[in-house]
């Protein structure tokens, strides 16, 4: 193992990054596929039905069947659409969804952090990339040239801007406690206390904003099928729809990773169970957060749009600000 690592480290940097990226891409896409299957299974069980169980044993080949279906379907572009932007939008969504993984560390070994790039301003990079992600949705909705997508994209833009603010503020409390903007540094600062205990308010704010940021139920006003057909991706079909779909699930995975890194101790093992490798802890925590997501979707009804905005601006933002001030004062007083 050590020898293998030695030869890996001897490779030129660009090749190493390329290999790491390819492996990570494979991992993320596979986890997307099975997160989707898991969601359908879990939703099924929660609604007392079996869920997908026809393709392969226990329905395990369902993602492959879905992919084949999406690839084979006709790729339609409406006459009223703006062809260039219409085709560009899914790529923006997918690109931003994946590029976040350039800075997310998965684990740590004595020789370094398991990440493609250990960026010092990692958390700022995360915020920057996720703030670009909204372009895919809003451009896609606009370029479709019909009214439901436009309404969906306008909603999503307003919603994502509003909730991003509270989300960033909930990060700052963690930054103050850990004293660094590097994601690996934040995780190592949680060796004794995971930040969701001292930052419980921040964690709550983050959980709510994370659901809203990824446009998931109960904040999925962007694609509210009872009002907007399918929201911003009404006109998309085939693989282009598939790209949006992948981006949504990858974003779910991303916010779960961020929650794990910032609040749930990253790859730190709980109760001193250090014989289980850190990566597995990381994956388990991300998985738990993903399950929570699906649970929410099965449980809660959709919010009304004005209430959603009022909640974001009048509750979450003040609470996050207050949390930030209290954290800053406490840290300053304790020196």
């Amino acid at each position: 193992m050590q020898a293998a690592l030695g030869t890996l480290n001897a490779l030129p940097v660009w090749l190493l990054i390329l290999i790491k990226s390819a492996v990570l891409l494979l991992v993320v896409v596979t986890s997307f596929a099975y997160a989707m299957l898991a969601e359908r299974k879990i939703l099924g069980w929660m609604q007392l039905r079996p869920g997908p169980n026809r393709v392969g044993p226990w329905g395990l080949m369902q993602p492959a069947a879905d992919a084949a279906k999406l690839i084979l379907k006709e790729d339609l572009t409406p006459k009223t659409a703006d062809p260039l932007i219409y085709k560009l939008a899914p790529f923006i969504s997918l690109l931003t969804a994946f590029s976040v993984y350039a800075v997310i560390p998965w684990g740590a070994s004595p020789s370094g952090t398991w990440a493609i790039g250990n960026v010092n301003a990692g958390i700022l990079f995360l915020l920057a990339i996720t703030s670009i992600g909204v372009y895919g949705i809003s451009l896609g909705g606009w370029a479709s040239g019909s009214k439901y997508p436009l309404l969906g994209s306008v909603r999503s833009t307003a919603q994502m801007i509003s909730y991003e603010l509270a989300m960033s503020l909930s990060f700052v409390g963690v930054l103050i406690l850990s004293g660094t903007t590097s994601l690996a540094g934040i995780v190592s600062a949680q060796a004794t206390w995971w930040f969701f205990i001292p930052q419980c308010v921040g964690f709550l704010v983050y959980v709510v904003t994370a659901v809203a940021e990824t446009n998931r139920a109960p904040f999925d006003l962007v694609e509210a099928e009872t009002e907007l057909v399918a929201g911003f991706h009404t006109e998309y079909s085939g693989l282009r729809f598939g790209l949006f779909f992948i981006a949504e699930y990858v974003n779910m995975l991303t916010v779960s990773c961020i929650a794990t890194l910032l609040f749930l101790g990253g790859w730190n093992a709980p109760f001193g169970l250090t014989m289980i490798p850190g990566v597995l802890w990381f994956v388990a925590k991300v998985g738990a957060f993903m399950f929570f997501y699906m649970w929410l979707r099965a449980t809660l009804p959709r919010l009304r749009y004005d209430r959603l905005m009022a909640f974001g601006w009048k509750v979450l933002l003040p609470v996050a600000t207050l949390n930030l001030i209290v954290t800053a004062v406490v840290v300053a007083l304790r020196g």
Partner: protein
């Protein structure tokens, strides 16, 4: 250096596209590319924090509002379809004169090196980017912002606050201003009656 020229070309090309694009949304996309390339330029100058902030603030917040407004105002329709779509003829000599003047200015300041942009005053810009003590790191930036430049920072914050309040005053709530709660109750009752009568007030 090669990266500088490639990114520089992207910056200029996207800026030109932003100005010349016929649909406002294309301009937004052009500007988006421009901001991203500009952030890459900042990165190559090892101003890591500035690069990230450039993306967060300009691409993530300001530009998305542009898009928001443009998408609402002109869904699919180019608004300038009928208007004159030509820059005035004077633009060609004007651009030439400005370009010559700029080159002269840069040459005057910089001695000779126009085609080899000076990257950093002190040696290599490539260091362990972001750690304290290295030019452009988050820690140093924050310290400088909140100690040496605290007053300008606070004044800027105040000015922005004034702007926000001004916007709220200009575009905010359209309900008529009333002096007392009694008056407010009367206005509200009248509005309700108007709605009940079936007419919009």
């Amino acid at each position: 250096m090669i990266a500088f020229w490639i990114v520089g070309a992207i910056v200029v090309a996207s800026a030109v596209w932003t100005v010349t694009a016929r649909k406002p949304v294309y301009s937004v996309v052009g500007l988006l590319i421009n901001f991203a390339a500009l952030a890459a330029l900042y990165l190559s100058l090892s101003a890591e924090f500035l690069a990230v902030i450039q993306i967060i603030v300009y691409s993530g917040a300001i530009l998305i509002l542009f898009l928001f407004v443009i998408a609402l105002l002109s869904s699919g329709v180019a608004p300038f379809a009928q208007g004159p779509n030509r820059l005035p003829r004077i633009v060609v000599p004007a651009v030439a004169i400005v370009a010559v003047a700029l080159v002269g200015l840069v040459a005057g300041i910089n001695g000779a090196a126009i085609l080899t942009p000076s990257v950093s005053p002190s040696g290599s810009p490539l260091g362990p980017v972001g750690s304290a003590g290295v030019f452009g790191s988050v820690a140093d930036f924050g310290k400088a912002l909140f100690t040496t430049h605290l007053l300008p920072f606070e004044v800027t914050a105040l000015i922005l606050m004034v702007a926000v309040i001004g916007v709220v005053m200009l575009a905010g709530d359209q309900t008529p201003y009333v002096g007392s709660s009694k008056q407010a109750a009367r206005v509200e009752r009248q509005a309700r009656e108007a709605i009940l009568r079936g007419g919009d007030r």
